[in-house]
Symmetry: C4
Subunit: 233 residues, 4 copies
């Protein structure tokens, strides 16, 4: 019997496979989800299943309160973080979490990634934020749910908008990225990893490297995302 | 109906695919063009089209004033830079632009790449120049056109000749490379990325590393490019 | 005639091939063994045989006193280390040794790998220990046997348990990892290499990076390995 | 008509292809030769031919005075260095030259590679020597011939034997490696590149890292190369 979430599960499956093909994960160190706003559900990778063995029918479908709607496997251990973000950020369509090497290194260093060049500015106009590690009481509580709170609080404190900044580092943990689709969330994870490596190398070559000037930040972001954007077809 | 620019578009297409195969680009972060001096036109990658989906017929043909001569897609957002270089540097046959990792790191560090060894000297006799970021008024103006001006001005100020130095870094942005053909421009992009990585590692191992001595610079360049060159067939 | 150790040799063979496929070894710089507790024997890679030429029937079977039970080839030169560990640590089922790049770099630096993030804490709750180089008299004696002593002594001195910490660095040499199966030992070798690279990059970005807070160490380890673990299927 | 050097040319061809497959060269940045001591000739890669297009019949055969004995193509521009080494070091059977990244970085840094661990000691018992850049008069003279002199002089000055130390870095240039066969020369090039990367990372992690203790150097070298070697089959 065919599932009414077949297309959603396929989207989620394809995005997870892409995450692996891009070299952003080893073993089971990552997960992607895709949301269906009409039905108020999202699809996510099952926990601990290697990418080589993953099948579209293994994907788990849940509502925003973490109730399983379809699927026989246990969902990703990070599911509550995804649910909280979907519930609070209405416009996002997909979320990806990885332990990609350079992104994790910046997260472990507890440093924002400075905006050093146009590769960065083509995607966002600010430093990539690194949220401080969680309070002990939150860790001991509903940890994955609280990771969602941690992300949203960080954005509020810094006056950032998830429509404009589609990625974050969690201090001592690693990156989350999102976007209008699951595929875009995976794309943003790859961009983040690339920008993280470039920024690392930049500081190795010149510890006094300066941030990109405002005029260039604006120009590059606008030509790709602005009202008069002229990038793409 | 067959295009009279079919061979030109094929050359441009092949060079773009090679750029991707060499690992110099991810997604759509790069573009290669090829010029036809007899007809006063050049062919360039369309904007925002992933390399896996690119077809020879997607390639756009323009004149040096950026008028589209053939093609239905929007050309690369960097097209005006290519046009300006073709218009002003009569001898070049192809141009490549990438966001390759080590090249970008040096560009973001706003440092010339010092000539540390014979791998570098086999290709050029000076440090690889890094042009300073553009003035704000030029950024807000005709940005991509002005990037062409920026490149040519940098060469004039430093007394460099584009026949001898076939590559440059744009501060906070990334590399441009050129050559007698589009394939040679791609080759130079790969050489630049390799030399950039070697120079980075050299300074990590020995922060006081010295530039290659003049006699070795001359010897290696001459044996490959001099009057009595004895490299190759 | 079929060997009663056929399954054991197959397990050992597959794990060795996986070690190579994961990029953890070049040439013959590594070896994996698998134990059969019922028969008191273990299977190990033959010495100096390239992975591309390795066949299941080449695998050598020995008892814990290093007597060959089955096989015509000379076993890995590190065999006595494996034998000593199997003899003294009853619960382990497989051991892997590599010269993987980042793991070796930390071993050569004679530094424990600090626990900087959750990728590390998902697998163990302490810094990855680096055992001091051996005394000269032990080196000149039964070297590989003494490497086994060196590992076990390091764990005793630090109060570590091999059930909880499934990896170690030998100063100036490289990593050993183990687990319930040979496949798990290989998995731990890959995790160690990944964590070693992340920790290296973390310190390059922030030389004052701090260790992961205790609450996060506990949380991440417990959710994967604790009584109420909710990771995996 | 069949050549009497067919087997020699095949050996040389295979070793050149292996150099490329191991990722030690890009484009034409390297060359391998193989010697036939009975006939007093050696076979070497032709100059400037990409590895993808190289065929066994392209290989050039020369005597130790650089006279072409067989072949229609121009030999590698480094041929005179190979010839000089074959003429002076009777026991070597193959030579490889590359511009591999980490090896070149150490050469550009003009530093010997310190012996930090057993991966290094498994192959040689001393730091990997880096020969000082050549005098200007030698550079302007018979450069490639003089590179051979430079290598042999460096070994004499340091009291090294090419049977025991099968690799060297030329300051500001790159590595040469040799061995009993062309395949062994390629193997040594890969070992050198690996050891170069490990040593670089070791110093990044611990700038005060100490050299491997003598007892371990001796033990590891002896178990692989000594009278009572017990490594391999």
């Amino acid at each position: 019997m065919s599932s009414k979430y077949k297309a959603l599960k396929e989207e989620c499956f394809e995005a997870n496979i892409e995450l692996n093909d891009l070299g952003l994960v080893i073993y089971t160190f990552g997960n992607v989800s895709a949301v269906d706003r009409d039905h108020g559900v999202f699809a996510i990778k099952p926990s601990g299943v290697p990418y080589e063995k993953l099948k579209p029918e293994d994907i788990v479908v849940l509502d925003y309160e973490n109730n399983i709607v379809e699927g026989t496997m246990r969902p990703s251990s990070d599911t509550k973080t995804h649910a909280f973000l979907y519930k609070n950020w209405n416009h996002i369509g997909g979320i990806a979490h990885t332990h990609a090497t350079y992104s994790v290194a910046w997260a472990q260093a507890q440093k924002d990634i400075p905006i050093f060049g146009t590769t960065h500015a083509d995607h966002l106009t600010v430093d990539i934020p690194c949220a401080e590690p969680m309070n002990d009481s939150l860790i001991e509580g509903n940890y994955e749910h609280n990771t969602g709170i941690q992300i949203i609080d960080c954005f509020k404190e810094r006056g950032l908008y998830p429509e404009e900044v589609e990625m974050i580092l969690i201090g001592n943990h690693g990156p989350f990225a999102w976007g209008k689709t699951a595929a875009k969330a995976v794309y943003n994870s790859k961009v983040l990893e690339t920008v993280a490596q470039m920024a690392y190398l930049t500081l190795q070559i010149n510890p006094n490297a300066t941030r990109l000037k405002d005029a260039l930040i604006k120009k590059h972001y606008e030509r790709k995302h602005g009202k008069n954007a002229y990038y793409g077809q």
